[in-house]
């Protein structure tokens, strides 16, 4: 699977849970790797791209989470 597609899935997952449950990087890795049957390293690499591009950011609320940046 292309890295961009994985990134798309990650973004959708974060978008879907926005306002419901804050996701940790490990939650994303576990969910996406199981859903797409890929390794966690693949998920990490795609997540890194999203954060480097500024599409997702890390936030801290008594723990580190991955979220969509505020508008």
């Amino acid at each position: 699977m292309e890295k961009a597609e994985v990134a798309q899935k990650i973004y959708e997952l974060v978008e879907k849970s926005t306002g419901k449950k804050k996701l940790k990087s490990s939650d994303i890795q576990k969910t996406i790797s199981a859903d797409l049957n890929i390794t966690r390293d693949d998920v990490k690499a795609a997540l890194k791209d999203l954060v480097d591009e500024g599409k997702l950011i890390y936030t801290y609320f008594g723990g580190s989470f991955v979220e969509i940046p505020p508008k």
Binding site: S25, Q29, K44, K48, V51, I57, Y60, G62, S64
Partner: protein
Amino acid sequence: MPKKYETPLLDELEKGPFPSFVTEIKKAAARSDMAADELGQLEKSYRDKRGYWKHGGIVGVRGYGSGVIGRYSSLADQFPDVANFHTVRINCTSGFFYTSKFLKEMCDIWDKYGSGLTNLHGSTGDLVLLGTNTENLEPIFAEFSSRGWDLGGSGSALRTPSCCVGPARCEWSNIDTLGITYSVTQEFQDEMHRPAFPYKFKIKTAGCAVDCIASIARADLSIIGTWKGKIAVDQGEVANYAKKGMKIQEEIVNKCPSKCMSYDGKELKIDDDNCVRCMHCIAKMTKALKPTGEKGATILMGSKAPFVIGATLSWVIVPFMKLEEPYDELKDLIRKMWEFWDEHGKNRERIGELVIRKGMREFLEFIGIDPVPQQVKEPRRDPFFFWTEADLQK
């Protein structure tokens, strides 16, 4: 002209012969509105007997999930220059070695973009820059990274590893503390800057049990140098210590924690099989005693001050590990520990708390390390033993 606040309560803390943080903040406040508002807000905190800082939220520089700790004033109307007052962590060098040139450059950058207040070094070990606003974060990062520096760890991540000065300045070091710290820092950049753990994870390395970096009390992974051979005794030097007035029986022999030393007024004897390598005798009689044989480290885990169950010191998981470049055995162990934590840890549960909750048995089975007597921290308090199917078949 920066703002000025009346600070009668803080002024009390300038009295007396010792250096005062208030005096330092005042010096910074004479040049920086940020530092002035910091002082003003602190005085109000003293008056009202409560803190006015909030933390967390969205912070960091592009691509990083750690290294900047968001700090916000809850009195932004009153103290607008500390409305954002973020902490920046710069990854310290192994053993905290810097040139005076770098320190001057760092100060210039910080005077330009921040409050001018620093903290060398924070408890985690980083070179800490105290107080800047959100807009300045990217420029500060650019200044440091263009000089070859990087952010440290924060949040649910590997924290900046740190170590004692080790072989660079100390004859007691059994391991290359600096090399180990450098190597794990390079290896685990991803774990440091892209938080993916249940909570923080600290690695601290000391060259011997004197433990100048306090790894036994404040690291999820404590690496402490030790040796396998005997303690070589130079009886001539022992006699010199005695001649100079050292009370060898009282000061050395009686204080040996494993009671493995004896002294008849002439000869000092050590029963090395029972020595626990605590360093007490060696630190006191440096000229007379010297560790020999294979050098390596004891690997311990789990210390933290305000644990849910109370302050906890690290306990042994590997009594002796040889530590030589590229430190693969150590790195594999660390990865295995993280895997266990990732699988079973709850949010904000340190790895030590998890192992206490689950038990050493499950942890050791997972990381593939055999149980040995050195791992016993204290006698068990309950009389029950639960046999597994596998035990019963034996």
